[in-house]
Symmetry: C2
DNA sequence: GCTGATGCACTAATGCATTAGCGTCCCGAA
DNA sequence: TTCGGGACGCTAATGCATTAGTGCATCAGC
């Protein structure tokens, strides 16, 4: 993780062009506002953001490292198609980490940790009808487990690799009862952790993270132009 | 993972300046040829590699994303100190993934996979006295497991995050019998996988990956100037 | 008269703008 | 169907603006 060293760097970070461009483009790609296959013309981006090519190049290179854009040197830069293999590997990654986090917390988490997680879960339950807040607290719950297990950077890692999965989620149809299932899963995980039952906690994590990508086949058929043929 | 699209890109990739600079600098940092704290002056690098600042800037930014250099804007760019917290998190990451890989392979690997792993292990045993080949085959064994489990990109991910650990390894004293312990561990893992004994395979993986960072405290005391004070 | 602090100017290094060079793809003609 | 020319746009080079750190000079206080 690049840390912020000086006070002025903290102030300037949001003034620097390239990171801002990266974030804004990333959001638009993940929201499918920039759909897979869309060309990313540097001259258009120059006009839109009022910068020169250098910050744009930097942002596009970072996006390419996350797999969200593909740069064909000397030819073009386009939004990448959704790579189901990459999405599956990221899901494997996340499941691996969170299973191990569950084992760690079941063994060694203290009361303050459980209190913090319960507090998040309570707020999460209260946000059942506020979709953006619900999503935020969903992530917050997982992030808190990463931090409690001493691996906060791995949360950032998983997030940074989730571009393809996030785009699949954006194509998901809203499923009735999905939110309640999430709350139920989080509650089960927490109960098992507090009971120091490693196996139960891992089962709950496994189940929680297995349901996410059930519709992929249907999505791939509904939007073949969005999915990489491989 | 950025994939190579066109034939000529594959050819030119090794001609492009920035990736070459990145690789060479990375090797020198990991080998401690460029020790923590060493300044990376653009003008010196320009003179040394015969390019302009743009490829150098690209390479340094990629190194910064991997945590191997720290860029203080308008001031300096230096090789980062070894971050023990980051190293521990990377080790957690690797252990998490390989435990899950072990579960996957114990459940579903076929004979061809085991044959391939046994072949690598045999060559590995034969390379007991060739250090560089031994290290190469060590990595090859793990990489083969990632590939067999269907997550080849996660191997690249772990590798790319291993900079701090690799530098710790470079400071390790050679331990008598270390190589034989590695071979024994790999053999145990493979035996358990072939016996479809998930628990035993995971125990073997856990033990194999636990011994790596035993000397950290001693190293931090021997080379305090190399380690980030946190 | 001496010591310490404050302020200003200078140096150095990065981010960004601008420009040149060159490879790739497309399209039309043979 | 194949080959060549041209447009497109990505990489690299060069120059400029901004900013952090440093050192010296000046001034106030003892």
């Amino acid at each position: 993780m690049p840390q912020l060293r000086t006070r002025s760097e903290q102030l300037n970070r949001h003034l620097r062009a390239a990171p801002q461009l990266f974030e804004r483009l990333r959001e638009r790609i993940i929201a499918l506002d920039l759909p897979p296959g869309a060309p990313l013309s540097r001259v258009e981006l120059m006009a839109e953001f009022g910068t020169s090519v250098t910050p744009i190049r930097d942002a596009l290179q970072r996006l390419a490292e996350e797999g969200l854009v593909e740069i064909y040197p000397q030819h073009a830069t386009v939004v990448s198609r959704i790579d189901l293999a990459q999405a599956a590997q990221t899901q494997f990654l996340r499941r691996s980490i969170e299973l191990e986090i569950a084992a760690t917390l079941a063994r060694a988490a203290d009361h303050a940790t459980f209190d913090a997680l319960r507090a998040i879960l309570a707020r999460h339950r209260a946000a059942l009808n506020d979709l953006t807040e619900f999503k935020r607290l969903d992530m917050r719950f997982h992030q808190a487990m990463y931090e409690a297990a001493g691996v906060p950077d791995l949360w950032a890692l998983v997030r940074s690799r989730s571009g393809h999965i996030d785009r699949l989620r954006a194509l998901h149809l809203p499923i009735a009862g999905k939110a309640k299932a999430i709350l139920r899963d989080h509650g089960r995980i927490l109960d098992a952790l507090e009971a120091r039952d490693t196996a139960a906690a891992q089962r709950a994590v496994h189940e929680h993270l297995s349901g996410t990508l059930t519709q992929v086949a249907a999505i791939a058929k509904r939007h073949p132009e969005y999915v990489r043929q491989s």
